[in-house]
């Protein structure tokens, strides 16, 4: 079981409100994809789910109990970059969680327990197609291989929830398609709940069982940071796994508007002119 329920979640930094009024119930085993404009708080939402940050207000419950106050093994994560440990080989990266659990002091396994850990990790290794690279260091792997390793590593502790922060954002389209297949396969096998932030609307529709769109409902031109984003669309995707054309058109039309929103309304050149004088 890995049911998530979120009540009245709000996150603000001083006067800047990033997220507000978020209420969400996610059943065990759902695959939620999260889309929205840059800077609308998708990643903040993921950090809250991860307990990397504490929410200003509101609560997140996992299976009825509040989530722990710091990141722990019930919620796994894959970031866009820096997700694997560069000083460990592929196999060492994979057995690290098992070593950490079994040996609190040294964090290392030797002899038979180590061989058993390697066997346990071997299955996932071949599932993500990295059999041939088991003794390679991450620096020699391609971006796609590193992300496959990161996903496999995150799944070793059997997390209830897997959080993915634009995991395929840096990959080329062909590699992405292969990653989709691998990820969906692992999800069917492991039955964990998934939250995946993505910039790619099509990816969001293809992978998710449910699509969450983050955007600001309230917008004050004089105080652009006064209101935060919330979940504006919550679409179940069981049947139609591609974006309705109208939505794609709207998202594409929206993109320039988002970037043209002034972050800092004061004219920037004044300071320079003052210095020159």
């Amino acid at each position: 079981m890995s049911r998530i329920s979120i009540r009245k979640l709000e996150q603000s930094y001083g006067a800047v409100t990033v997220l507000e009024r978020i209420n969400l119930d996610v059943a065990s085993g759902e695959f939620c994809t999260i889309v929205g404009a840059s800077g609308c708080g998708k990643s903040t939402f993921l950090r809250l789910l991860l307990s990397e940050e504490r929410p200003t207000r509101g609560e997140i419950h996992l299976d009825g109990a509040p989530i722990s106050e710091e990141p722990c093994a019930d919620r796994g994560v894959v970031f866009q970059r820096y997700s694997v440990f560069p000083h460990l080989t592929v196999m060492e990266n994979l057995i690290l969680p098992l070593e950490l659990r079994a040996a609190p002091l040294s964090g290392r396994l030797y002899g038979r327990p180590r061989r058993e850990a390697r066997e346990r990790a071997g299955h996932l290794l071949s599932r993500v197609g990295l059999d041939h690279a088991r003794d390679a260091y991450p620096k020699t792997l391609s971006g796609g291989m590193q992300q496959r390793l990161a996903i496999a590593q995150a799944l070793i502790p059997k997390p209830k929830v897997l959080l993915l922060d634009e995991p395929f954002g840096a990959l080329d389209p062909g590699t992405r398609l292969r990653m989709h297949e691998i990820l969906l396969g692992l999800w069917e096998e492991e039955k964990m709940t998934v939250f995946m932030v993505t910039h790619d609307l099509k990816e969001g529709f293809k992978l998710g069982t449910r699509l969450l769109v983050f955007d600001k409902l309230r917008w004050d031109p004089d105080a652009p940071q006064a209101y935060g984003a919330t979940i504006t669309y919550d679409l179940p995707l069981e049947d139609h796994r591609s974006p309705p054309p109208a939505l794609v058109a709207e998202a594409e039309a929206e993109a320039p508007r988002q970037t043209s929103r002034p972050c800092n309304p004061r004219p920037c050149n004044r300071g320079l002119a003052d210095v020159a004088r």
Binding site: L50, E52, E70, P71, C72, A73, R75, G76, V77, F79, R81, Y82, S83, F85, P86, H87, L88, T89, L96, P97, E99, L100, R101, P104, L105, S106, G107, R108, Y137, P138, K139, A150, Q153, A154, I156, P157, P159
Partner: protein, 273 residues
């Protein structure tokens, strides 16, 4: 005609070009030495190769008349002991404090300012204090090296720890790592190359502090010897000693570089020193 920035030496050309300045320096010395000795055969400022050989033979291969020891080796042994001991203590301190300050926010708040302040104190200025507190024996010399090198090592290491991607520390926590396990399995292995690099950079200052403290108060050691024979203008001893110290410093640096290359094969190419 290729541009100057595109003209590269071949393999043998590289060696030849590298050796050229050494040859020129040696030739210039020999010419100057010959010229001076022609005017005054007893000149002590630029001794001939024969006097060097005689001095080296006397210091390295003949027992000293008064002490019965081979001076060069006794000096070398004494100096290296102080240097290695000082650097080892500094390394141990820096590893502990550097990782604690870089990784633990509470430790950083408590100790980063004091380390920053200590690193600004000129170590030679506290040498008199060390002599007063620790006496004129071995301890004050070792402490000077430790005091001179440790703050830099701590700061460099704590910056390296703080520069580790936040994602790695979060990921380690989601894999079930405790703070201790994060130190031993994630942080320590990744900052060791930086430690070796910082240690290599510290070799120069460490030698400086060693020679200085030996010059002021010692009964043996490489620095003690060259400052002792300075009274007699014994360039035939001083110059070989300087060359020997340079060679030792080079060898230590080379060993650390080799260690870094063989021990940290996981480093991306541009980071390996």
């Amino acid at each position: 005609m290729a541009r100057a920035i595109n003209r590269r030496p071949g393999r043998s050309g590289q060696i030849l070009l590298g050796a050229l300045p050494f040859v020129l320096l040696a030739a210039a010395y020999l010419l100057a030495s010959d010229a001076r000795l022609a005017v005054n055969p007893n000149d002590k400022l630029l001794p001939s190769l024969e006097s060097f050989a005689a001095a080296i033979d006397r210091l390295a291969f003949q027992p000293d008349a008064r002490k019965g020891t081979y001076l060069l080796w006794a000096d070398t042994w004494a100096s290296l002991q102080r240097l290695v001991l000082g650097l080892s203590i500094a390394t141990a301190l820096a590893l502990t404090a550097g990782i604690a300050i870089g990784l633990l926010p509470m430790m950083r708040a408590a100790f980063a300012p004091v380390v920053a302040a200590l690193s600004m104190v000129p170590p030679l200025a506290v040498l008199p204090i060390l002599f007063i507190v620790f006496g004129l024996g071995e301890l004050s010399k070792v402490v000077l090296i430790v005091f001179g090198v440790t703050p830099f090592l701590i700061r460099d290491l704590s910056f390296a720890v703080a520069a580790l991607p936040r994602e790695q520390l979060v990921k380690a926590q989601t894999l079930g790592a405790s703070s201790w396990q994060i130190v031993t399995r994630v942080v320590l292995p990744q900052v060791l190359p930086r430690l070796v690099g910082a240690l290599r950079l510290s070799l120069g200052p460490a030698w400086l502090f060693l020679i200085s403290s030996e010059a002021i108060a010692a009964t043996e050691g490489l620095g003690y010897r060259i400052f002792l024979v300075r009274r007699y203008l014994a360039m035939d001893v001083i110059l070989p000693y300087v060359a020997w110290i340079t060679l030792l410093a080079f060898l230590l640096d080379y060993l650390l570089q080799r260690l870094s290359r063989s021990a940290f094969r996981w480093l991306p190419g541009e980071q390996s020193l």
